[in-house]
Symmetry: C2
Subunit: 471 residues, 2 copies
């Protein structure tokens, strides 16, 4: 599979200059993402495609070809496989779809023929019916808008659309990827092969997986168990419900299993199961941004009374604890805040500070040095009732404070910054503009940041659960 | 209480020009929100405050005063009450805090004295320890950045910070408010009185409530039952957990009850219980944007295969159903899409359309006219793998389509548009800019819009559950 992630030469079968065609897109990606090896567009009707010399067939390409991206229709694949064999092709990605996933007998038979011939010729296949390979280090991509710089998350997704969304959306929160494979119908290279590869890949520190169905359960379980022993594996099972299972069959022709079985299996294998892409990204944000968190005691800072009460409720409901302030901490608080030391609690409610607000920084420091908490949550006080100018200063100060805490690494800390969803028109308002500016700052400073306490505590509970099992 | 929402005259005790003082803020709000009646700043050291003639004491104000906003410290309240009686004051809002919520015996005793004296003099009190009254129609507000135009949601929140966040954040999603009261310690006017008022208020069609604790359970239950029979009541109970209960006592000195008791009570009273502000806003969005939805059968449109599979899973897990396409619908689809009619399912997966993509609008129409679905979910296809130009067109077309569906009112429809959280710096990217522009369009067109399928289906399940009980 190294040949798929780091090929010396790539041929695009069906390369085109028509922007509605994937033969165009894949060639475009090789150029845009800066692929360093040889690029061979294959098109019987063109001298060149996108400024690169084209060849009428794969057989006409000079020398060997490591990796082939196939964007032509299914009936053209069997003869193409002969050309692949002649060119010593190691891996072919079949973007080509409309095979077994259609449920039509003719298409199922064609897929069987392709499988049989590729196996006989010793050519690995990724797909069919999938987006293929993203390998930013090598300059390979299957979509627009993916980061060109690599990171530490390896992706194995049956669905390419979902993989694209994951990578684009997670990138906004500072996550980068080592490589990604969308494997579709998984005809030869299946989920287990890719997991094995990512488990051994030194550039991959976390694995993010989306499965719809599994063809070889035993192989899969062995691969996942081995991978989960080496690094965190975060997985979504798609097709957990009746309607989802039906949708799976028209999507990737996979056989889905019942959710309760999957839950048990994932749990036994040490896999972190999440329900959707949003939860998956939350886990990636925590694994990237925090060291192991070895306990469930949360210190919650910031926000007014109502926010504090709700944060405590939500944290406990998620299975975390929010311990009261210890006598030692009271003594320290008394020295800083003689007027309100006995009235403060965890969560710390900013609305009772009055003239002592200027001492917030000192109290934050007490929290981050205290041994009473395993992790801190900074709820940015976007509920501050002062005028806009002051509000902006409070929000900035708290963001400064959490960035400082995070930089010091005294204790794991996450930020919660505003569940507001401004539209573009709302950015004229200083409030929403500030929120978005501070979100950029937090991301740039690598502070794990959530939009709501509910998200933060549910993600933390799952994350801490992982570290309880992996001491 | 009409005097609190529509006063003829308002006096601000402790009016000030210091922007750190709430005597400044409340006067500022009267000016900024365009209060039409008489405004009387009271300050013994000033001739005028913010350009308005000031009075050394309330007794010096000419004529009667309907409503007083009190921003001075607790020890000044007992003598002030005598002045209030002389001026025929109907309601006084005590922004003043540091009373029973501190847990200190002296403060508890002071609060008791205030209560006794106000009762004797026949003066209603809102608070102490609260933000007071927002009545956009009259030009009263307790915070910056609240909409100045009124709407149909009435708010009764123990916590003013949480009320402020609710109103500001919900406003971004098109929600407007008839009036809001933050009642803090609820010394005289309590949650039940406000609920009674909002239940009878013709301008209030939906009630949003946040309670931390209840002083008179029987009165409360009667008020809430009566209100819930008249209009939807959406409520958060703060202080559901051990830590939350502890936080409640330092916030508003209320006695919190266990969550299981509250759950049962709310359920029996027909109250829609939500866990946090985000869930509350989701319900407000649905109640504002949709007619009653009388069944659980969802038609899901848009998004690629992986998104469709997950949407079906998440919908079923939330208690909704995603029925397969009926034979009648297959016949209609065959006429439109002869190449793929048998392969399509619910959710409709755009990634298998190929050259038929141009016919999407016709298929959408089939869905919105079909009797097989009680509600439609349009997942905007932000996972479309085409180039940026095309991607923008697809997203716009789908937003056009859902706006058109919503306008026609043939069937309830909601949109799901991107869980991405761009920071300000990300808006240079056409993708995130487009998402935010389309969010503005959807809000302007009054289409209930969510950021993720999980949010949408969980909110819909709760909303539909309400209509099942209220036929």
């Amino acid at each position: 599979m190294d040949y798929a992630f780091y090929p010396g030469q790539v041929a695009v079968i069906g390369a085109s200059e028509q922007p509605v065609s994937f033969g165009y897109h894949y060639l475009r990606h090789l150029i845009d993402y800066g692929f360093k090896g040889e690029i061979y567009p294959v098109n019987p009707h063109k001298e060149s495609v996108l400024g690169i010399k084209a060849y009428p067939s794969l057989a006409d390409v000079p020398g060997d070809v490591d990796f082939v991206i196939c964007c032509v229709s299914a009936d053209m694949i069997p003869p193409l496989l002969d050309d692949c064999a002649a060119k010593n092709v190691k891996v072919m990605h079949l973007f080509t779809a409309r095979l077994s996933e259609t449920g039509r007998p003719q298409a199922v038979e064609m897929e069987r023929q392709i499988q049989e011939k590729a196996t006989r010729l010793g050519i690995s296949l990724i797909g069919p019916n999938c987006m293929g390979v993203y390998s930013p280090e090598a300059g390979l991509s299957f979509a627009y808008g993916l980061p060109s710089e690599p990171g530490n998350v390896g992706v194995v997704f049956q669905s390419g659309g979902a993989a694209t969304l994951l990578i684009q959306t997670a990138a906004l929160r500072g996550i980068r990827f080592s490589k990604a494979v969308s494997y579709g119908n998984g005809l030869l290279i299946d989920e287990s092969d890719i997991i094995d590869y990512l488990a051994d890949d030194p550039k991959t520190e976390i694995i993010a997986a989306y499965f719809e169905g599994i063809k070889d359960g035993k192989k899969f379980i062995n691969s996942v168990r081995r991978a989960a022993q080496k690094k965190p594996v975060i997985a979504i099972k798609g097709g957990r419900s009746k309607a989802g299972t039906r949708a799976v069959s028209s999507h990737t022709a996979a056989i889905a299993g019942s959710n309760s079985v999957w839950k048990t299996v994932f749990n036994q294998l040490g896999v972190i199961q999440v329900r959707d892409l949003e939860e998956m990204i939350d886990q990636l944000v925590l694994f990237k941004g925090l060291p192991p968190v070895r306990g469930r005691r949360m210190g919650i800072i910031g926000g007014g009374g109502g926010k504090g009460v709700l944060a405590a409720d939500l944290a406990e409901e998620a299975g975390l604890s929010v311990p009261p302030l210890s006598p030692e901490m009271r003594v320290q608080l008394k020295a800083i805040l003689p007027a309100i030391w006995d009235w403060l609690s965890n969560p710390i409610d900013f609305s009772i500070w009055g003239d002592d607000a200027a001492r917030a920084g000192e109290v934050h420091r007490l929290f981050w040095e205290s041994r009473d908490f395993d992790c801190l949550i900074m709820q940015v006080s976007d509920d501050n009732p002062m005028g806009e100018d002051w509000w902006v200063i409070v929000v900035q100060m708290e963001v400064d404070s959490v960035i400082e805490m995070s930089r010091r690494q005294t204790k794991p800390v996450v930020a919660v910054l505003s569940a507001a969803r401004p539209g573009f028109d709302d950015l004229e308002n200083i409030r929403w503009r500030t929120i978005m500016e501070q979100r950029s700052r937090l991301t740039a400073s690598k502070v794990p940041t959530f939009c709501s306490v509910t998200e933060a505590v549910q993600a933390l509970a799952k994350f801490i659960g992982y570290w309880e099992k992996n001491k």
